[in-house]
């Protein structure tokens, strides 16, 4: 049997983490191809339902990543995102989702190297957790 290749949905903020991903690319850094990046203007606009949808559709992991504290282009969207992630980490585990599958990071625009590292670590962790149950079963 071939090795489990997880699907990870990543919501990256336009101003910092997405730019860092760009930088990683132009610097020819490599990171796992399991990540599907969705660019959003700010992590503060990542409605919990986007994360829920990703999980119910079979994502094995969800990563939300924005600017470091004080760097948010919209002043405090990243802090608001942190509350939403905290909320989801309270709700989802009740229904059998491992809370390790949902992560929030803050990666600055110049941190291409760090971004590639985070991608490798997270992908490794999700591989260790195995496929999400929503991938295997019918979700109503």
């Amino acid at each position: 049997m071939s090795e489990f290749e997880p699907t990870i949905v990543a919501f990256f903020c336009n101003w910092c983490t997405y730019t860092a991903a760009d930088l990683a690319g132009t610097s020819r850094l490599s990171y796992p191809y399991n990540i599907r990046i969705i660019r959003v203007m700010c992590t503060g606009m990542v409605d919990p339902q986007y994360v829920i949808k990703a999980f119910l559709e079979g994502a094995d992991g969800v990563l939300v990543s924005g600017c470091r504290p004080g760097d948010c282009h919209y002043i405090n969207g990243n802090y608001k995102a942190r509350r939403r992630i905290k909320l989801l980490k309270e709700i989802l585990p009740q229904f059998g989702f491992d809370q390790q599958r949902l992560r929030l990071t803050w990666i600055g625009a110049s941190d291409g190297v760090h971004l590639a590292e985070i991608m490798r670590t997270f992908t490794g962790q999700i591989k260790a957790l195995g496929p999400s149950q929503t991938k295997l079963k019918m979700v109503i």
Binding site: P48, L56, Q94, F95, T105
Partner: protein
């Protein structure tokens, strides 16, 4: 200053005393109208009514174990803009808590309303109520009042109280302008009237009721009731957690759901003007269904059932007041209150928030602190 007064009952009838008290308030110049649950003439059911003429208060019945809807929504309709007068609203404690949430969400104005709460005796589910009330509504209410005051707080004449009421630890409203007390007062003899805000003081002063002291038995009675309800609640939490702790169990939990979204309509704090689940976003293209089905070989129709419920939990659980109207509205008897309260209890706790407690606390998702939840950020 708090004004505490007592109203003596005639022929052990609290309804008549309440009706007269409401009429007295409505006759005051400051009050343009009163929103009060009233028995409708055409059917034996109790619904909120907006009354401007005191002679139409003869069927007011805030004690009936009928809870057809959470009237916080109605109070919000009346106060979303200045209405040109002050309205007094007779609400259950959970309705007041939901109203306070709506004020915070800028969907209601606190200034234009005088909140009057009557100690809540609990209620039946809608279907059970009409059976219970039979042909003689007012008489059944008085029977119910005596039954609850006698300490029977879970069932009566073979009908179970609504789960939400059995698990409710807020039988008395601390946020009303005027609190009408039943617990700890002598059943059938008297009720207590107490002001809790300046607006309440003002009104009670004008009414000139005989002064009294709050009997010490009242707080004891309330504490006993709350602790009974809390232990029921905690058992309910444990059972619900057990019944929903995996995807399979959640699928079983919601397998009767037909996506009617009644629970959202009935919910007083589901605050979006337009719910995303009824917009075109969810009017999927036919080919999309085919793709979804092809991925696993089978999908359940209609789709998005769990997605809808979990999203609702994420959106409104921090504002959930546990009124139980979601369960009341469900055509297929899904135990929604149980699940929503179980989750809401957790989500409100992490933000040290209690829905409806105070106007000074902002909704948790509308604010933040810089040095909190650090454990959520980062991957090692």
């Amino acid at each position: 200053m708090t004004i505490t007064a007592k109203i003596d009952l005639r022929e052990q009838n609290p309804l008549e005393a309440l009706q007269q008290f409401f009429a007295g308030i409505l006759k005051l110049e400051d009050i343009a109208a009163i929103l009060v649950p009233q028995r409708l003439p055409t059917k034996n059911t109790v619904m909120p009514t907006l009354v401007t003429d005191a002679s139409f208060l003869g069927s007011a019945d805030p004690l009936a174990p009928a809870f057809m809807m959470n009237a916080a929504r109605i109070a919000s309709r009346l106060t979303r803009k200045p209405m040109g007068g002050k309205v007094a609203a007779v609400l259950r404690p959970c309705e007041i808590r939901a109203f306070i949430e709506l004020v915070k969400l800028k969907q209601a104005l606190r200034e234009d309303i005088l909140l009057i709460s009557v100690d809540c005796l609990g209620a039946f589910q809608n279907k059970a109520y009409s059976k219970f009330a039979g042909q003689n509504g007012p008489e059944s209410t008085i029977r119910f009042y005596k039954n609850v005051m006698g300490g029977n707080i879970t069932e009566m004449e073979g009908a179970e109280f609504a789960t939400a009421c059995k698990a409710c630890e807020y039988p008395v409203s601390e946020n009303a302008d005027i609190q009408i007390g039943l617990y700890g007062m002598k059943t059938g003899e008297s009720i207590l009237v107490k002001s809790q805000t300046e607006a309440g003081d003002h009104i009670l002063k004008l009414l000139n009721l005989p002064d009294t002291n709050e009997p010490p038995a009242r707080q004891d009675a309330i504490n006993t009731l709350i602790s009974q309800r809390t232990s029921y609640r905690d058992e309910m939490f444990a059972k619900t957690r057990e019944n929903s702790d995996s995807l399979d169990k959640m699928t079983a939990y919601f397998s009767n759901c037909v996506n009617c979204y009644n629970c959202r309509v009935a919910c007083p704090v589901c605050y979006c003007r337009e719910c995303v689940f009824v917009t075109d976003v969810f009017n999927h293209d036919p080919y999309q269904y085919l793709q979804w089905a092809a991925r696993k070989g089978i999908i359940k129709m209609p789709t998005d059932t769990l997605f809808y419920h979990i999203t609702r939990l994420a959106h409104m659980s921090t504002a959930c007041v546990g009124c139980g109207q979601c369960s009341n509205a469900c055509p297929n008897d899904i135990p929604l209150t149980e699940l929503f309260r179980t989750i809401a209890h957790k989500t409100q706790k992490i933000f040290e928030y209690e829905a409806g407690r105070s106007l000074d606390e902002k909704p948790p998702l509308s604010e933040f602190r810089e040095d909190e939840f650090k454990e959520v950020v980062g991957i090692d």
